[in-house]
């Protein structure tokens, strides 16, 4: 069928199963917007900034497991998308960004709103394309979706000059599209899997260390993981990205590991004799000082991306493949070999872990007069637990507290910027998640500074009646920056306070939403319930303790067993059980 390039874009998106596009129009994408106007199959969500379009697409992708899609114009539209693309690359989120470009005959002439979009986005996409001929366009879009979702997922960009949108050519259907030779391996090597199972049968102090790869592999992978953990009785910890793959209420759950992870999780990682890394990448927030990382263990690493293997930490047993495939194979093999584990070893190992748990590393000193951020999240957890809930976060202290104090029972329920650490991610991501799940409770746990970075999206939330809850832990500080300045820079608080903050209640009202402010711990439960019950966007301005630090903490460059348990426990715990650790 012959059609214009603009029509092809819409047709290809439909054929790829796209239901929602987050975007912002401009001169170089007008033909595509004209086509969007003339159809009802694809819903377009008009954001207020292109960065938010990409983060919203990420939130949509992460909460559904589908590919997210964003549409931006040339020049500034494309450059504004760069942060979102980089964020998606670091966290392996499948998104397709379509950008307009000046007409082919003007490329290179410094035309109005021209930017070298494929040049700029080359290092922050899995792959990108500049389509110079309408005849290639539909094929390239199909290929883009294939690349975004195959192997280790990630962002791709298709740059479409305006004349290519106007010209007509033959449309290529999905099944006839050349998806190139790009076919990453999903099945793990059988010998390596057998080696892993052998190690599991004899290990005295094993641990599963899981990451976002389990979530990316799909719900079946999380199910297999749960079965494997239940059958073996091995303890399990997860990175920030992998929360929810194994339920927080599960018996074997140690909590998150890493720089602000739980004491028991980090100590277990340090002292284990068998580490099974499933879909995680030994990020520096996890390993601390690499020379001292888990010195006594043999390591297995399951990852779909060969470049993750031995990048940071050398492993004895690399298994390249999709987590779901590898776990299924391994589980069947382990069962067939007689379901063996080292029972005595495991019993002692769990006893050791129980000792670490007694440290109660998340303990904090509560207050009757001021809302502690930890308390706010504990109450949010208590009051929303069991609800059909999706949580996004911004970046900073609140993000770490959210990871520590909120429990996730299922995958795809927790969306946070892990690799890139993008302040301003959470609000648009909550919009993307809410678009995908209109009837669910979507909460963005935010800090006031991060939230202000994309606050313009209140307009989007109001326009599309997206009842996202912006739960802002307002300490009038860049809390994590302030914490590092206190601990590492001689308490010189250089530019880490939020001066001239808006009145968040009035701000919400100005946009047509609801604002709630709470400063008294006694009012907190009622205020949270009011937020949940309100049918519309809410900005919840939770005024919290201004100088609370986030603990536990592995200081940069230190190994896992050098955790700081924090000033909250300084009087009792540090002189007692924790004294040896600090």
């Amino acid at each position: 069928m012959k059609m214009t390039g603009a029509k092809m874009v819409v047709q290809a998106l439909k054929d790829q199963g796209v239901e929602v596009v987050f975007g912002y129009p401009g001169g170089a994408v007008l033909p595509i917007y004209d086509e969007i106007f003339q159809q009802d199959d694809i819903k377009h969500i008009l954001v207020r900034h292109e960065q938010a379009a990409v983060h919203a697409a990420e939130g949509y992708a992460r909460s559904t497991g589908k590919v997210g899609c964003a549409l931006v114009t040339s020049g500034p539209g494309a450059t504004n998308a760069v942060t979102g693309l980089t964020d998606a690359l670091m966290d392996s989120i499948p998104i397709v960004v379509l950008s307009g470009q000046v007409p082919t005959f003007m490329i290179g002439n410094d035309a109005f709103q021209e930017a070298d979009t494929v040049g700029i986005t080359r290092p922050c996409t899995k792959h990108n394309w500049l389509v110079k001929d309408t005849a290639d366009l539909s094929n390239v879009i199909h290929q883009a979706f294939h690349v975004a979702r195959s192997g280790r997922p990630g962002p791709v960009l298709v740059d479409i000059p305006k004349d290519v949108q106007f010209a007509s050519a033959q449309y290529t259907e999905v099944k006839k599209a050349k998806t190139s030779h790009y076919q990453p391996k999903v099945k793990g090597d059988a010998d390596a899997i057998e080696r892993m199972v052998e190690l599991m049968e004899t290990a005295e102090r094993p641990i599963f260390y899981t990451g976002g790869g389990v979530i990316n592999s799909g719900p079946a992978a999380s199910q297999l993981l749960r079965e494997f953990v239940a059958a073996t009785g091995f303890p399990i910890t997860s990175t920030l990205m992998g929360l929810g793959a194994y339920p927080a209420s599960g018996d074997a759950w140690l909590g998150m590991l890493g720089m602000h992870g739980l004491y028991e999780a980090n100590l277990a990682m340090h002292d284990c004799d068998l580490m099974i890394n499933i879909g995680a990448r030994f990020d520096d927030r996890i390993t601390g000082r690499v020379q001292d990382f888990s010195p006594k263990s043999r390591k297995v690493h399951i990852d779909i991306d060969p470049s993750s293997i031995n990048k940071v930490i050398p492993v004895e047993v690399p298994i390249i493949g999709d987590v779901g495939h590898v776990l299924e194979h391994a589980l069947n093999l382990w069962k067939a070999r007689g379901r063996k584990v080292n029972k005595d070893g495991l019993k002692k190992w769990w006893a050791k872990i129980e000792e670490w748990r007694k440290v109660e590393c998340l303990r904090y000193r509560n207050s009757d007069t001021v809302i502690k951020p930890q308390y706010a999240l504990e109450r949010l957890e208590a009051l929303t637990k069991g609800m059909d809930r999706y949580v996004t976060t911004e970046v900073g202290q609140h993000q770490m507290w959210a990871a520590q104090f909120l429990g996730f029972e299922d995958p795809n329920r927790w969306m946070t910027s892990g690799g890139l650490g993008t302040m301003g991610y959470g609000f648009p991501a909550s919009i993307g998640a809410q678009v995908a799940h209109p009837d669910s409770l979507v909460i963005n746990v935010a800090g006031e500074a991060s939230w202000l970075m994309n606050m313009q999206e209140m307009g989007t939330a109001i326009q599309f009646r997206l009842p996202v809850k912006q739960f802002i832990l307002n300490n009038e500080r860049l809390g994590m920056v302030r914490q590092w300045q206190q601990l590492l820079h001689g308490e010189r608080y250089s530019h880490s306070w939020s001066e001239a903050l808006p009145d968040f209640v009035k701000l919400a009202e100005a946009f047509g939403g609801k604002g709630i402010q709470c400063s008294d711990p006694k009012d907190l439960d009622d205020a949270i319930m009011e937020m949940i019950r309100y049918d519309g966007p809410v900005i919840f301005d939770c005024l919290v303790e201004k100088h609370e630090n986030c603990f536990p903490m592995i200081p940069s460059g230190e190994p896992h067993n050098k955790m700081l348990l924090g000033d909250a426990q300084a009087t009792d715990a540090i002189q007692g059980k924790g004294a040896v650790l600090v």
Binding site: H181, D305, P306, N310, P314
Partner: protein, 188 residues
């Protein structure tokens, strides 16, 4: 798979496996990368090297299969064994990359580089330049009464040696192609 992806029958297989993965020894490897000849592909490969801080000692690229739109990029790089493995894995996962061959470990290979050298001079120096060129089997591809342009083909070391000899004899300019390399034997 072993992270090394060594071909069966490779003569250096065992030695490669024996070396310490975390060794700090810098190694020099010649990689042959077969890519789709699409616009920007060279920028992708170079961007990978600069973005991740890898070294490029030499790089050559040209289309080798016009119908299949394939180009072959030959890269000489240095790094610790861990870095070399990373480079290969990072190249391998790029969408337009079809194949990555580490010619340094996949059995024996031949490497050649072509260089053009302009040597200006008269009298004894001119005669000596011509005599040395003959020893190195360099061809004269251009001449004037006070200059030659020599064409020399060989390993990079041979080109270096020839250039060093030409320097006192009036070397004014040199153009080198960088290394092209193929594995020995019948297989691709």
């Amino acid at each position: 798979m072993s992270a090394l992806q060594i071909k069966k029958g490779s003569s250096k297989h065992s030695a490669y496996d024996l070396r310490s993965h975390m060794s700090e020894v810098m190694e020099r490897h010649t990689l042959a990368v077969v890519v789709d000849n699409e616009s920007g592909v060279l920028a992708r490969v170079i961007g990978l090297f600069s973005g991740r801080g890898y070294n490029i000692e030499s790089l050559t690229v040209a289309e080798v299969d016009h119908q299949g739109h394939r180009s072959r990029i030959t890269i000489v790089t240095t790094g610790t064994p861990q870095v070399i493995e990373q480079i290969k894995a990072q190249l391998q996962r790029m969408v337009p990359v079809h194949d990555v061959h580490d010619l340094t470990v996949e059995g024996q290979s031949v490497e050649r580089e072509l260089a053009l050298l302009k040597v200006a001079g008269t009298g004894d120096k001119r005669v000596e330049a011509l005599r040395l060129a003959d020893i190195f089997r360099a061809n004269v591809v251009d001449t004037s009464l006070e200059s030659f342009v020599f064409e020399i083909t060989g390993t990079s070391e041979k080109v270096d040696a020839f250039a060093d000899l030409m320097r006192p004899l009036g070397l004014v300019e040199i153009a080198r192609t960088g290394v092209a390399a193929l594995s020995r034997g019948p297989q691709a």
